[in-house]
Amino acid sequence: MKITKEEVEHIARLSKLYLSEKEAEMFGEQLNKIIGYVEHLNSIDTSNTEPTSHVIPLNNVMRNDSPVLSLPAKEALRNAPDPTKKFYRVPKIIE
């Protein structure tokens, strides 16, 4: 199966990435090569095989319903590119 240029652009949009003309061409070529390689999985019959998402059995983990201190707002905001008061400031969304 071949990934078209339009599909590369679509995937980039879903990935929230801008691609230059040159990048779109390079990634398109490389993705096709990798996807082409991955296709050989289709030679295995997996019709009766359960998928594995985790190798060890996982259970829901609960903790006691008692309050604990969380990261103070000031600390949480220390790495923010544009903090204001107790908030993260971002470009305007609604005009």
Binding site: L17, K33, I34, T46
Partner: protein, 484 residues
């Protein structure tokens, strides 16, 4: 005596006998770093100031007879593990200024045992790569041959240990990122069982595969390091609530009668001649120590790389969605919110990270989910079953760590698929969640180290340590040092 060249156990003895002081160890470490770092470039951040503060604390602890496993021992940490208030970049421009407000569980445990942080080591951006050439900042070179890569993604940690710029290090391993650089740099690297070590504070790449482990100068140091970092952690719901044995107890146990599986799928065309010869010699050596080699088959081995690159990239595309310029790291200007997200991600991520995010996004996208992601998960089941079957008959499995010794800088950089295929012998272990170690097993005629991989059952690191230690004690490969 240069203190930076010693092992954890050697230093422990000298420090506890008060023959040396932690500050003297740190002096020798940074003397070495100053001497070789221009060439090797293992580190992204060198934490000299913190190291001397930690050395003063260590000295105090020793004077009060309160020394513990790592008191006064300089350890380097891969730069994808959070260290509170110390730069943690994942070798990515998108996190170039990130100082975590919290500490990862592994480094908390190192701290509790009195370690000294030497610095944060280089890696392929977000641990995506096999050569450390994908770092967003600079490449790291192999201490054995500066024209070669150190392997990856934990290339900085492996190079730092090999070059004696630290005594031990932490790496992380998603598809071979501890074991392959350990093999390329002639040191010991262990990927523990999935769930053995907490991932809290490890920046996520592929959450169902990532695992933290030690890179050390010998097998007993790896056991000491695992003793420190292993164990259940309430902050990581995937860490296993399972008892942790004293791994040092496994060292020195006899391997007489131990059954070692030799999977025929790992001795294939394309494997380097010298690598094959030395691994076969290593198997002979284990046999001479009483182990019983048995030929076994892991029939789905040839599908592991394809399976991995679907599952790992799918998980990565989801995990890396958080880098959007809002809460931390790089923010690029945009005319609106969406434009800001996209400008930030386009500017902040390198080519390999973009490639993997797009591959994962494609595999998860509507219409392709069953063909790729679900298919990958099903083949993962088959790969895991291969191991379950073989471990009914053998105690450990022995293979080469990598099909070749270290390759040259730039050799595979232009062809992502060729780079992915260099992980062919390490990837299955992550998909199955089992533990595996790489230990030095010889040198090529060009004086490049090669690695022997020993895999074990889930939560049976002890059989791995026992086997690795028996081999190491009957050889001298681990004592060689690069002439930098």
């Amino acid at each position: 005596m240069k203190l930076n060249e010693l092992t954890i156990s050697e230093l422990r003895r000298f420090l506890d006998n008060r023959e040396i002081k932690p500050q003297e160890v740190v002096d020798d470490i940074y003397k070495r770093v100053d001497g070789v770092e221009d060439n090797v470039r293992s580190f992204i951040t060198i934490t000299k100031k913190e190291a001397y503060e930690m050395a003063a604390d260590a000295e105090q602890a020793i004077l009060e007879n309160k020394g513990s496993l790592l008191t006064g021992i300089p350890v380097a940490v891969k730069d994808n593990m959070c260290t509170k208030d110390i730069l943690t970049t994942c070798a990515s421009k998108i996190l170039h200024n990130f100082k975590p407000p919290y500490e990862s569980t592994v480094t908390t445990r190192l701290k509790e045992q009195g370690y000294i942080l030497t610095g944060k080591t280089n890696l392929d951006e977000f641990a995506m790569g096999s050569s450390t050439e994908n770092s967003g900042f600079h490449i790291t070179r192999n201490p054995w041959d500066l024209d070669c890569v150190p392997g990856g993604s934990s290339g900085g940690s492996a190079a730092a240990v090999a070059a004696d710029e630290c005594v031990a290090a932490l790496g992380s391993d998603t598809g071979g990122s501890i074991r392959q650089p350990a093999a390329f740099c002639g040191v010991v690297g262990l990927k523990p069982t999935y769930g053995r070590v907490s991932r809290y504070g490890l920046v996520a790449f592929a959450s169902s595969l990532d695992q933290i482990g030690p890179i050390t100068k010998n097998v007993s140091d790896a056991a000491i390091m695992l003793n420190v970092i292993a164990g259940h952690d309430p902050l990581d719901s995937t860490s296993a609530p399972i008892n942790v044995p004293d791994f040092a107890q496994a060292l020195g146990q006899e391997i007489k009668g131990l059954k070692i599986g030799i999977p025929k799928e790992y001795f294939i065309e394309g494997i380097d001649r010298e690598v094959e010869d030395f691994v076969r010699l290593a198997i002979k050596k284990l046999e001479s120590l009483g182990a019983i080699p048995i030929e076994v088959s892991l029939p789905h081995t040839g599908y592991a790389v394809a399976t991995y690159y679907i599952l790992a990239t799918s998980e990565a595309s989801s995990n890396l969605a958080r880098y959007d310029g809002v809460k931390y790291g790089l923010r690029a200007n945009g005319k609106d919110l969406l434009d800001m997200y996209m400008q930030t991600r386009s500017e902040g991520f390198g080519a390999e990270v973009k490639r993997r995010i797009m591959l994962g996004t494609y595999a998860l996208s509507s219409g392709y989910y069953d063909a790729y992601y679900k298919k990958g998960q099903q083949v993962r089941t088959l790969i895991k079953q291969d191991f379950d079957n073989v471990f009914n008959d053998v105690d450990v499995i022995v293979t080469p760590t990598s099909p070749t010794p270290a390759f040259r800088v730039g050799e595979k950089a232009a062809d992502p698929l060729q780079m992915y295929l260099s992980d062919i012998f390490t990837i299955s272990v992550n998909l199955a969640g089992i533990p595996a170690i790489s230990i030095p097993c010889g040198f090529t005629k060009d004086n490049l180290p090669m690695g022997l991989q020993i895999m074990g059952r889930h939560f049976d690191e002890e059989s791995i340590f026992k086997t690795a230690y028996a081999y190491e004690q009957s050889t001298e490969w681990h004592l060689r040092r690069p002439s930098l």
